[in-house]
Symmetry: C2
Subunit: 422 residues, 2 copies
């Protein structure tokens, strides 16, 4: 253990030293590096695909399923998309140095809050190799050092990508340690990294709930967590039902495996007799299995719509599949209570024409995104206009919701005077 | 252990339930509660002083030193000051509901970021009983539930203060669990609380370094840390020496026991022969012991100013006393290197008439407050205009520097549309 810890500490120390240089890098230097990275990725396509083929062969030999293999797979189009994503980050505004507010004190002191990088950001992720270049680009543009710890299944792919990234960084004259791939994918080395408070300024785990809980329980460094997305759509008594149908179908069925997909439909008792059959038929037409409360089952069976009886465990559950829990709620208060009890503070939506209902819902629901008359699927850095995201935080500290470049910064006070003392 | 953990979990569950009500409390309700708390504190003065007398008697019997007893001591003037501090929080702007930014997306979605409370804030502190009412007021105004875990030495005082606070909260019609004093000051119960991720949204430890390290090492809930203040004043070659003298003396000697006091004076080699004797005489006149580098010792001995040779451990050390380390540095780069190596990212100051030096210093120094031509002592919530502070964060995540009401909030995305889907 001591050896791994020592190795990881020395590794993190290199990152910390590079962080001081990166904090002072100009926007032009950082953009030069991003364009050089994109170019190096394109040039390295054969090497990246060769490395990826080895990872793929091992994954298939190990009997990994098709979804896993697809997440791991790279082809020249995917490498080109990675290069384009890096160039897109160059086009985003540099958050470093932004003065977010400023004021003057009665004694003449001038105070301003100025954005600076967080320092060293440790990304822990699983089998998607493109996270290597995506995270590197976002950290670099925000003046941070990226320490990247990918999964062992994608290690050779990540290594080949990281090599190209480092070439680009060096060609632009920035420190080569600005992006560091952790050379060891053992659990021991991850545990060691998670204890390096003072060297690692933030850890962002991305992956399954098991990985995130493991990191949260073992980390002494700050962690921004992304747990589940148990997202609800509440169809209020004053909803436009055609709009509700469009939103509910999109929220559930457009991409059921992602965290901003709807997992539970709440229908107001005032419109349930009419709305439930319409919404449910539209979901069933998309191959969605419905698991309803007793009232839902009564109404849908009477209307001849296929439905199963929900068990208690179906509410508050993240299916990540073509399954939806359905519940009839007695008005807005009932919806708010259900969401407070079963929601995961990720994304919650209401469909309503009532201004009062929309106002109460947006004020009283605690979630990283509270949505009125639109799909839950919009809780995404790109869709909300953040440009790109490094993850979605479901804890309220530091960042809540999609994390873009600004969420990879801190703010310091700069105080200027002409000799003031207390 | 199970029993303590169960008890603490049930306790935190009460806090979490109250947090949902507090998140929707109006500014008027919260201000009513603050005024009612101030009134209840004044009315309870005899009971508070009686409880405090018991704590004091125990502290003296246990042989605690004078500084400890003074921190613990309450008298009617100090209780009145506590009541006034609570009323001052009522006068601060309510951060909840503030729209910090808003924009429209190409598809017509309107997005805004809105401040909401963090939820349940656990304050862990030692022997100052006034923290009980100060922290309660700041948490309440920012819509959070305050869970207060004071030290055992001040427990009876804190209990009496918390009882008055609860009376005020209830008179204003807010949930009585909005402010909760942890009824048990054992280390076991603190450890149990620190594991309650999901129930406690933030822990702020205030006290000695030992307490803060204990919390940081054992917490699974998010922690905002305040470690040391190893603050430097760098007197640049272009400094006005009269101004430098005023600032250095104020930074070191006005209150040497606090975290924003100067611990190390850096003097530019370009002016050391002239500046060092002048600055040092002024410090010595305030009874400050100087511990200098070899060059400092040479210059001061030649000038007949008393100085001791610094050991390596004196640089980067937080004396919290009338002692200062002193070093001659070869220009701005030397000062920046010294601060990067030995500073604690708390407060760093430069005295200079040079615009270029000030610009580089404010850009390149990473500290919660970077100060030009003013005393380090201004790194304080009140002095910087935040109104009041719940602590000073020296880690960059979530908050960096003094934490006022805004730093006790999170921000959610509110997204309004008219039927948009992806």
């Amino acid at each position: 253990m001591t050896t791994t810890l020592d190795t990881m500490r020395a590794f993190a120390r290199r990152a910390k030293d590079a962080a001081r240089v990166m904090a002072s890098a100009t926007t032009a230097q950082k953009n030069d590096a991003l364009f050089a990275i994109a170019k190096a990725l394109r040039q390295a396509t054969p090497a990246i695909l060769e490395a990826n083929a080895l990872d793929l062969a091992d994954a298939k030999a190990a009997g990994k399923n098709a979804a896993f293999v697809d997440r791991l797979l790279l082809d020249s189009a995917r490498v080109e998309a990675m290069a384009k994503a890096v160039e897109a980050v160059a086009a985003l505004e540099d958050p470093i140095g932004e003065v977010t507010s400023s004021w003057r004190r009665p004694n003449g002191l001038e105070v301003r809050k100025v954005r600076l990088p967080l320092g060293v950001v440790l990304m822990i992720y699983e089998s998607r190799p493109n996270v290597t270049s995506d995270a590197a680009a976002l950290c670099l543009k925000s003046g941070n050092v990226a320490m990247l710890r990918g999964g062992s299944e994608a290690f050779r792919s990540s290594r080949a990508i990281a090599d190209a990234v480092t070439q680009g960084v060096e060609r632009a004259g920035l420190p080569k340690d600005a992006v560091l791939l952790v050379p060891d994918t053992s659990r021991e080395s991850m545990l060691a990294l998670l204890t390096l408070d003072g060297l690692i300024d933030l850890c962002i785990p991305r992956g399954g709930e098991g990985l995130i809980r493991f990191v949260a329980e073992n980390a002494r460094v700050p962690v921004v967590k992304h747990y589940q997305g148990v997202c609800h759509v509440y169809v209020h008594g004053d909803a436009d039902l055609a709009m509700a149908e469009r939103i509910v179908v999109n929220a559930k069925a457009s991409r059921p495996g992602v965290c901003n997909a709807m997992e539970c439909l709440l229908v107001d008792a005032a419109v349930a007799e009419r709305a439930l059959p319409q919404l449910s038929r539209a979901l069933v037409a998309k191959q969605v299995e419905l698991r309803g409360c007793a009232e839902t089952v009564r109404i849908l069976r009477a209307a001849g719509v296929p439905v199963n009886a929900a068990s208690d465990g179906d509410f508050g559950h993240e299916f990540l599949d073509l399954i939806a829990a359905v519940k009839v709620v007695p008005g807005l208060d009932g919806a708010l209570d259900h969401i407070a009890k079963y929601g995961s503070e990720h994304t919650e939506a209401i469909v309503t024409a009532s201004r009062d209902a929309a106002r109460r819902f947006t004020r009283e629901v605690c979630a990283s995104a509270v949505v009125v008359n639109a799909s839950t699927r919009f809780n995404d850095g790109g869709e909300l206009g953040l440009g790109a995201e490094v993850g979605i935080s479901t804890s309220r500290l530091h960042a809540f919701g999609p994390m873009g470049l600004k969420e990879l910064t801190a703010q310091k006070f700069v105080v200027e005077g002409d000799g003031q003392v207390r």
